[in-house]
Every structure is written in C-alpha cells, then in structure tokens.
Symmetry: C2
Subunit: 376 residues, 2 copies
Amino acid sequence: MAETTTRTPREPADPARTPDAPAAADVRPDVLGWTCPAPLRDQPRVVMGHGGGGAMSAELVEHVFAPAFGGPALDRIGDSAAVELGGARLAFSTDSFVVRPLFFPGGSIGDLAVNGTVNDLAMRGARAAYLSCGFILEEGVEMEVLGRVAGAMGAAARAAGVEVATGDTKVVEAGHGDGVYINTSAVGLIPAGVDLRPQRVRPGDAVLVSGAVGAHGIAILSVREGMEFGVGVESDCAPLGGLVDAMLAVTPDLHVLRDPTRGGLAASLNEIAAASGTGVVIEERAVPVPEPVAAACAFLGLDPLLVANEGKLVAFVPREHADAVLDAMRAHPLGREAAVIGEAVEDHPGMVVARTGLGGTRVVDMPLGEQLPRIC
Amino acid sequence: MAETTTRTPREPADPARTPDAPAAADVRPDVLGWTCPAPLRDQPRVVMGHGGGGAMSAELVEHVFAPAFGGPALDRIGDSAAVELGGARLAFSTDSFVVRPLFFPGGSIGDLAVNGTVNDLAMRGARAAYLSCGFILEEGVEMEVLGRVAGAMGAAARAAGVEVATGDTKVVEAGHGDGVYINTSAVGLIPAGVDLRPQRVRPGDAVLVSGAVGAHGIAILSVREGMEFGVGVESDCAPLGGLVDAMLAVTPDLHVLRDPTRGGLAASLNEIAAASGTGVVIEERAVPVPEPVAAACAFLGLDPLLVANEGKLVAFVPREHADAVLDAMRAHPLGREAAVIGEAVEDHPGMVVARTGLGGTRVVDMPLGEQLPRIC
C-alpha cells in the first residue's frame, strides 16, 4: 500500500469552539477562500466536490433533492433503485458522464457511459436489458469524434448484452458544454431470491474485492495532466454483469454489492457501513493495488482507497459462502485477482477502519468530494 | 393563422447543378459561413440544428447513432421505446433538458424535465411509474436556484403521479455548462390492447390536436429576448397522462399519439407521415393558435406549426371513433380546445400538406432544426 500513515477521525475545524465560545468562529480560517478540488461544506453555491460521489454529494441529496422529491423511494435514491412494475422486480438506474478527456488509456466516455450504468444494475443482481442514451453536445464538436464515441458505446453495449432502446440529443452553444456529455439509464430484471442492499449486512460478513483498485482514476490523471508513471496504467472499465452472475450462481444470498467508482473503495465501504449500521475492518495490505497505481499514489500523495474504479466490485458475503464465492470470482476473467480484504464487525458501527501495514489502525473516512473531478 | 403564404417543396440549393455539371458546385454560396440557428446539412461539426428535433436530428440518428448501436431496437429509437421485460410491456424513454432560461412564464426546467419524459411515455399509452433524474450542474450555480428547480421537479412529479426513484449528480467547471442541465428517464406499463405507433395509421384517420399550439416556444422567446407581445404568453407545460387515459377509455384502438415539442406540429406530422407511408392534409384555419402567439409569429415571421409545445398532443384516430374521442378530450381540463385539424390520405404518401386560409395549399416541410435553440 502506498499510504501507511495513521489518521484519526476528522476533528472539528476549531477545537476551541464550544457552545460557550461561539465567538471563536470569527478566528477560524477562511475556508471559503480555498479552491477546489478541496471541497467545502455549507456553500451557497455548487462546487466541484458536490459531484464527487462523497459526503458532499450525499449532503446535496439529503438537503436539496430528498426534501423536494419525497415519496417512498427516497431511501433508495442512490446508484440504482429496485422497483416493482407489472409484477416484476426491476432495477432502474441513471448516470451522467462528463469525463475529461473523452478518450483515455483503456477506454472512452462511450465505454464508461454503457458500463457505468450496466454496473449499477449488476450491483442489484440485475442484467441490464435496455439502455437509454441522452447526449448533450457542444456546438462545434467534430462529427468524427461523436462517431467514435457512439461506436465505443455500441461495442460496449454489445459486449454487455444490453440493447440501446431509446435516445435523445440536445445541442448547446460553444462555451456551455465540453464536447460530449452522455446520460444513460437502464432497466433490467432482478432475479428471484436476490436482494442486495446494505441493510442485509451482518457482523461476520466477509468483504471481497474483485481485483486491484485505482487503475481508472490514475489512467485519467495520467493522460489529463500529462504525467506518466513508469509502466502505463489503463482504465479497468468493464461490464460486471457476468461476474455477478457467476457469484450469484454460488448463492443468491450475497448481502450487498457496490462498484467503487467516484470516491473509490473508501466511499463504497463507508456508504455500506453507514446504511447497515455495522462496522467494517479491512486489512490495507490485503487490498490489491497495481504497482504503477501504488507508485503514482505515493508520488502524488493520493490514497488508493479513494481512487475511482470502473470495472471492480466490493461484496459483503456471509462468512460460510465466502470461500466458494471467492473461487467463483477467481474463475471469471474479471475476478482473477479477487481477494478477501476484511469483514463486517459489531464494533464501531457505521465506521470503516483499516489495519495498516505498520500494525496500526486508521479510520477510513468518507471522502468529502473526489480527489480528481470529472473522472466519469 | 399568422402564415398563409404558399410555399413549394424545398428546391436544391443550386438548380443548375446536375450530374453533368459538377463544377457548378464551386460557385454555390458558402453555406458554411452562415450562422446558426440556420441549420446546415453535411457539416463536419455539430451545429445547433442537430439538437432541434427536425431533419438534422434525424440525420444524426440515421448516420451516426443507428450504425453504431445497431440491434433490433433501432427502428424504435425515438421519443420512447416499447420493450418487453419480465412478461410485461414497458414504455421506456429519456430526454435531456437544456432550456434557457431556467425559469420562464408558466414553468421551469424542473417542470419540463418531469413533464417532457412523462409525456413521451403517455404517447405510448403508458403512465410513467418511476422517474430517474441526472443533473449536470455548473460549478457556481446557486444552491437556492438548484433548490427551486428540484422543488419544481418534485411538485411536477407528484402532479403526474410518478415517483422519483433514482438519481445522479455531476458537476462541471464554470464555463462548461449553463447552470443546470437535467436528464430524466422513465418506465411505465403499456396497457393491454394499446399499440400506438405511426405504422398503424390508415387513410381516413382523423387528425386531432388537444388544444392551441405554440405557447411554449413563444413564452421562452418572450423572456429570453425581452420581447412582449401584448398579452403575456405562458408555457403550456403539463403532464398528458390523464388526458391520454381519457382518450383510451373511449377506445384502446387509437393509432398514434405524438407530443409536438421541438419542431412543433410540423415535425410530428412529418414524422408520422414518413413512418406510416400515408399523406396528411390539415386545414390551417382549424389549428387552434392563441391570439398572442399568432401575433408574435406574424411579427417575427415564425410559423406557428413549427413552434414548440410542452402540453399538447396530436392523435391519429380511426374515423369512426373520432367524435367520441374528441368529446372525451374536450371533457378533460387539458383538452378543452381540442379540435379535428385534418386527416390521413392516400395521396402524396409521406408528405404533409396544409390547406391555407386563402384557399391554396402548401407543403408543410419537416423543419431542418428548431427555430429557437434550447427550447427544452
């Protein structure tokens, strides 16, 4: 692991501030003057961190969208929803893609737009059957670029076995977009007996990851900032439906699956811990990290647990099924490097803790935003 | 009607150019130098007209998206798809909304984002059950503005009886967006016995509109350009599910429904004529146009048939049911001004013709783009 320092739970910005000393707030640092990507809470305006998939995104949902939308589906607002329609249980999900640049090592916005949404459904145990695509194009984008993006989408859809069923295109003036933005939504059937959600996690569950983490974020960073980290790093962008099917063939009784995209493994584990009310302990050294990703993270001061992935999943599995599920994952091309990285525990409910390589422990916080904006 | 002049079918740009005289192309006007919103074909780059919902949008689907996506759903790529899942027939649709300004007389981008997609499903005869919303926010947009947009979405969703089930938020840097862009997708059940598609249109079908056309486009234009046209014009933005239910209660055997949004009534009628292979004749004077809309169109040289609507529908109905369907529409609050405006005919298959107020006829062309960009 690139990072083995020990961190403590986040401290208040000013420990001197107590209910008896509110005036101390006057001497706190002017955090509003800090620039993104350091995300800021309690902003009167949207900042980059609100799109990072971390605590600020969650606050936006909690304080802006949830009160406005209301309704019984509220607690399901997340990566995907499980809904009932015509007697069938469907998974339904949406994602917008604003990744920059449009093409990067290992993929493109077109691959991401298909796999990202297909994977959101896979995390419900569903194979995406039908996909919608909505384009917001910036005036002036080359037809040839749009054609390559569409070609990548078509190839990714065929690889994932999903049919592009409906679409929409809008064009905005130059200076009001960034070439190509894509939204995709998908619907698919949730198999009988499958019920994947964090509330089903129990202490003792094994925590598995399907492979090495951090490649997508570092691949984007390398091409965007013109950095190279020895060996090239390619995005891990891939459709996870087949891997999930292989896992569910072992037992439909998996508890929860997440694909650790924005905010990385840290965000996924924290979301599960918070929603399940259990604690999570991981062994840092058990988390597979590709050598060039670890090197890049060490060089840049990034935490691999926070770096985005686009073709990995984390699973909470009843202890008695963990070995068989791990074997099934390793037998699948997208799970060859699968590993058990930790477990759910009764201690510190809602909190994620990592045992570090130096023998200490650290709290793995929910990231506020994303270390690298516009990663997907 | 504001426009009663007679037009002929579009002429080639240079009638002198024949296969024997290709060099004549050299002296054609430099159309590439023309500016939007005059839309241009055969562009190497995307122009505003490609998002207008007219012939240029159709070309983008035909030449870029269809070859890339392939598959059996291809001929269904349009406002919504009818798909089969778990034994149920579902309508599935997506739309992105980039309207400028975000708030306009009679509504907001939030109202549009719900009603636009709900109405796409209604045109399949389906009530939208679940809605997704994907936000692309521009860094710096005020939380208060976002809150008002979300509030409008929530209210519109409750009015339409659709549940916001899943969502996503991305943020892009200032200068790469325009405050708030929204994508919504929805799924809903298509009732048994209902099969709404242009291929079912037959000569003799009556053509009905549910009310006066042109209000949405003129409302946007008035506030965007600071124009006022005597009496204020408000957008007609509304959810059409209830009106469609009332029509289907008369007979499930309606042939096709369309909501004439971008490209107006002209685009909807041309799409139906082209896909059905029948001709369409309308009586211009039978098309209800609000007085201030007619005045604004006359002043600006716009054709009300081309102006966008967000709460109207056009229906092709078997002649024997036309009177009863018209009565049912007029009994509904959103159909009080419903009217029979024409019929499907065997003559001029694929072409829409209007009988003008002066007793002549004119071809109602498919618009190339949209007269007013970013109307929805």
